[in-house]
C-alpha cells in the first residue's frame, strides 16, 4: 500500500482538533474541514491544552469545502453521528481509490453510514478512550489522553490498519489495532452507556458526581453488566477486568463532563441511537434483558426531543 501522508479531518470538535493538531505536529499534511470555526482556524490556528503538554499550531490548513481539500490518503471523521446525513456531500471529494476513512464516532451502527458513502472496503472505525472537550473554537482541552483502538469495518486487520495506528503513535497517542471493530465498539459502550447516560439523565452532572455516590456507582456497574451481557450474546466476551479498569480510570478522572452531557446542557442533539438505541435493539435481538438501558433510552429520548 501507498504510505499515508495527507490527512483530512472532518469535524472540528474536541477530537478533530486534538488528533488533527497532534498529527500535524508529527509531520502529516493535515487539512481541517471546518464550518463555523473556519476563520478562527485560519487566523489563529489550533491550541491544545492538555495535561500531557500544551502546544499551539499557529498556522493550519483549513478549508470550507471538501473540494478545496481534494483527495487525501486518510480521512478522519469526527463529526457527531447526528450529522451523518452530511457525509454523502463531504466524503466523495476527499476520496481516491486507496483512501482510507477512519470513523471516530461513538456507538453502534455509526460505521455503516460511512461505509455506505466511502465503500465498506475503505472504511475503518476507531474508538477514543479520552477525556477531551472543545474549550472554544480552535481550542481543544484534554485532561486524559487515553488511547485509541482501530479496526477494519469488514474483515480483520490489514497492513493499512497498522499504518493508521502508527500515525497516531507517531503523534504521541497510544494506539492499538483491534481484531474486531464490533467487539471494540461494545467495549467502548461499557463506558459510554452508563457515564454518558447517567450524567445526562441526572440533568447535567459530572462523572465525579456519579462516582462519589455509592448508589450511582452501583447503577454504573449494573449498566456495564447489561452491556457486557448484550456483547456476550453477540459473541464478544468482555472480561471483568475490563469493567474494573473502566471504573478505576473514571474514579481518578475528576469532574469530567462527557460530550453528550455538554450537548444536553447546551440543547444540542444527543447521539441517542448510537449509544443507547442501537445497543438496546441488538440486545433485544438476542433476547438479552437490559432493563436499565431500556429505561435510560426512554428517558434520554425525551431529552433528545427537546428543541435545540
Amino acid at each position: 500500500m501507498k504510505s499515508i501522508s495527507s490527512i483530512a479531518i472532518v469535524g472540528s470538535g474536541a477530537l478533530g482538533l486534538y488528533y488533527g493538531a497532534r498529527l500535524s505536529r508529527a509531520g502529516a499534511d493535515v487539512s481541517f474541514l471546518a464550518r463555523s470555526d473556519l476563520d478562527t482556524l485560519r487566523t489563529r490556528g489550533i491550541a491544545v491544552k492538555a495535561t500531557d503538554g500544551d502546544f499551539t499550531l499557529p498556522s493550519v490548513k483549513a478549508a470550507a469545502t471538501p473540494e478545496e481539500i481534494g483527495p487525501v490518503d486518510l480521512v478522519i471523521v469526527t463529526l457527531k453521528a447526528t450529522a451523518n446525513d452530511q457525509l454523502a456531500c463531504i466524503l466523495p471529494p476527499l476520496l481516491r481509490e486507496n483512501t482510507v476513512v477512519l470513523n471516530l464516532q461513538n456507538g453502534m451502527g455509526v460505521d455503516e453510514p460511512v461505509a455506505a458513502v466511502a465503500g465498506p472496503e475503505r472504511t475503518l472505525g476507531g474508538l477514543c478512550f479520552i477525556c477531551a472537550n472543545r474549550i472554544a473554537p480552535g481550542v481543544a482541552g484534554c485532561t486524559l489522553p487515553g488511547y485509541v483502538v482501530i479496526g477494519e469495518f469488514s474483515g480483520g486487520p490489514q497492513a493499512r490498519t497498522q499504518a493508521v495506528a502508527d500515525w497516531f503513535v507517531r503523534a504521541g497517542v497510544r494506539a492499538e489495532v483491534s481484531a474486531s471493530l464490533a467487539e471494540a465498539r461494545w467495549r467502548k459502550l461499557v463506558w459510554n452507556v452508563p457515564f454518558n447516560g447517567l450524567t445526562v439523565a441526572k440533568g447535567g452532572v459530572t462523572t465525579e458526581d456519579i462516582m462519589t455516590s455509592p448508589a450511582s456507582e452501583a447503577e454504573v456497574w449494573a449498566l456495564m453488566r447489561e452491556v457486557q451481557a448484550a456483547a456476550a450474546a453477540h459473541g464478544f466476551v468482555i472480561p471483568e477486568s475490563f469493567l474494573v479498569d473502566q471504573v478505576e480510570r473514571t474514579r481518578v478522572m475528576g469532574p469530567y463532563k462527557p460530550s453528550t452531557m455538554l450537548d444536553h446542557v447546551a440543547g444540542r442533539p444527543l447521539e441517542l441511537e448510537p449509544i443507547w438505541g442501537e445497543p438496546l435493539r441488538r440486545a433485544r435481538a438476542k433476547g438479552v434483558e437490559t432493563p436499565r438501558l431500556a429505561v435510560l433510552y426512554d428517558l434520554l429520548s425525551e431529552s433528545a426531543k427537546r428543541p435545540a
Copy 2:
C-alpha cells in the same frame, strides 16, 4: 364509638382543599390549618374547579396554629411527606383520646411518622386515586375525582374505618375500606412509581406525553411489573386486571401533571423516599430485582438534591 363531626385538615394543597371543601359542604365542622394560604382562606374561602362540578365555599374556618383548632374527631393529614418533621408540633394539639388521624400521603413508610406522634392505635392511612392540583392559594382543581381507599395502620378494619369512609361518601367521594393498608399502598405505587417517576425524570412531561409513546408505555408496564413483583414478595398479590385498569384510566386522563412533576419543575423537594426509595429497599429486602426502579431512584435522587 363517638361519631365524627369535627375535622381538621392539615395541609392546604390540592387534596386538603378538595376533600376539606367537600366534607365541609357535606356538613362536617371542618377547620383548615394553613400557613401561607391563611389570609386567602379567611378572606375568600375555597374554590373547587372540578370536572364533576365547580363550587365555592366563601367562608371556611382557617387557623394558623393547631392550638387555635384544638382537639377534633378526625385529623386528615395532606402534608407532603417531606414536611413530616412538623408532625410532632402539629398533631398533639389536635388529638384527644378517640381522635383518628387519617394520613393521605403517598408512598411507603409514611404512616409510621404519623403513628409515632399520634400513636399507632389512632392512625389510619388513605390512598387517593385522583387527579387534583392546587391551581392557586385556596383554589383546588380536579380533573378526575377517582376514589379513596382507607385502611387501619395496625390490624384490620374497625367501625371507625367505615365511619371515615362514610364521610367521604357523604361528601360525594367514592371511598372504600381496605382490609390491608399495606396492600393498598403497594397498589397505589403501581401508578406512582412509573408515572410520577417518568414524568419527573423526563424533565417535566405529562402523563399524556408518556402514554402517547409506545416505548414509554412499555417502560410504564415494566415498572408496574417490578412493583407488582415486590408486592408479591411481601404477600400482596396485585392482579393483572389492576395494572390494566391503571393504564386504561391514565390513557384517558389527558395531559395530567402529577404533583411530583410539578414539585420538580418548581424546584420543590420530591417525595423521593416514600415513592421510590422505600419500595426499592423493601424489594431488595426480599431479594426481588427491580432494576428500573433502582435506576429511577438514583436519577431522581439527583433531582431531589437540587436546591429548591
